[in-house]
Symmetry: C2
Subunit: 221 residues, 2 copies
DNA sequence: TCGGGCATTAGCCGATCGGTTGATGCCGCC
DNA sequence: GGCGGCATCAACCGATCGGCTAATGCCCGA
């Protein structure tokens, strides 16, 4: 009750953070939020995934706060590399979440938690503490989405093959099957086959719906 | 040369700022960036457009730093209201810019400048100083886009009518012309006409390309 | 009052698409 | 060695689409 329950290692070593975001403003905001609390120490900052991986190799880092959309190397790829090389490091994804498409890949890549940037400050601090101990931390809206995916027997969210995606991109550009075939040096029949597979995977009835669904899932543009 | 050229009003009154963003982190980062410089004073913060308009009515504000995507009231609408009621206030749009669609509306609504959140700090400070004096401030990439729009004789970016958009939404959902006609209680011929207009306005050849272009322009989802 | 934009409808045509079935060859994995 | 996934091709059918022209009625602003 008096706060003397876990003082085994003195004031406790601060949790060392690596902040990864391509926006200086956001990095500043995060740094400010954590520097005020002696329980945390900002070990470093990075503006993209590649820099994050590089820094994490040299610095003593407990928790990485990671944005997903960044130049050079995106967050998902960075998480994958980080977890490969330093599995003891916990990665908290901290993103704007305007696109759903990134949540699952990030979690699969090994993110310990997923928070939205509009989370209140104290929730952030709590999340980092929890993440350091390996506890999963999910923003309520993210948790809901994840559960939704699990519960809903959605056709398993099959990924498109490279070829299918190429065809779909051409279709989105207004290409007819015949033109797409010429551009890809294949026959029109093959294009149609690819498209049929795309329809099945995306749950679409025609090219227009497929394009729409692809945009929704972040597969295009 | 000795810095004594513009000291007419002493240390000069600080530029009073209103920070508008739905992310606490971003607000913190902005506040931190400006509070370190005595030439600026953060008069207030708001988490959405409505709050921004309300605060601007009471506070003495010179420059508003405004995010665009926010709950309740978006940035564009807030800019419009602000400029109506307090035309002397300068509004600097400060956004992530993952969507093109917002740039032009924001400028039309009366934004003095448009900056990206990944701009370096000093560029931010310079931009606010310039904005306070009514100078237009555009991030290079934004300026380029704007110029591109001007130069390119793009079919004038014709907006879709409400009816056309409704048809397009149905098409994006995989609806055939006939089904769309039933749902809208109109004839199939009318649906086709609407779509032909949509194709012309969006520069698309077919429904798939129209859906893609609509997503690119932020007209869908 | 006279446009002009918008929504609505009609009919016609060739071109294209969606669906189906079946087949081949290549590759990696068990 | 076999199995499955992937990419490739073929031929066929009906359904749908895209493009065109032409009209009507409504409402708003010049």
């Amino acid at each position: 009750m008096t706060g003397a329950d876990a003082d085994a290692d003195g004031p406790a070593a601060p949790i060392r953070l690596l902040i990864v975001d391509d926006h200086p403003i956001v990095r500043d905001g995060l740094r400010a939020a954590f520097e005020d609390d002696p329980a945390f120490a900002v070990a470093g900052q990075a503006a993209d995934g590649a820099e994050a991986v590089r820094l994490a190799a040299d610095l003593e880092v407990d928790v990485v706060l990671m944005d997903l959309r960044m130049p050079k190397m995106g967050g998902v790829e960075a998480i994958r590399l980080l977890r490969e090389r330093r599995p003891e490091i916990r990665v908290l994804v901290l993103t704007t979440f305007d696109s759903d498409a990134d949540v699952l890949p990030a979690v699969e890549a090994g993110a310990t938690g997923y928070l939205l940037k509009d989370a209140p400050r104290d929730e952030l601090l709590r999340a980092v503490r929890a993440a350091r101990q390996g506890q999963a931390v999910l923003a309520p809206s993210v948790a809901q989405k994840l559960l939704g995916r699990m519960r809903a027997p959605e056709p398993a969210e099959q990924p498109l093959t490279e070829r299918e995606l190429k065809v779909l991109r051409l279709v989105a550009a207004g290409t007819t099957n015949r033109e797409a075939a010429r551009q890809l040096f294949i026959s029109e029949a093959t294009v149609k086959t690819h498209l049929l597979h795309v329809y099945a995977k995306l749950g679409a009835r025609d090219r227009a719906a497929a394009v729409a669904e692809a945009y929704k899932r972040g597969l295009l543009s």
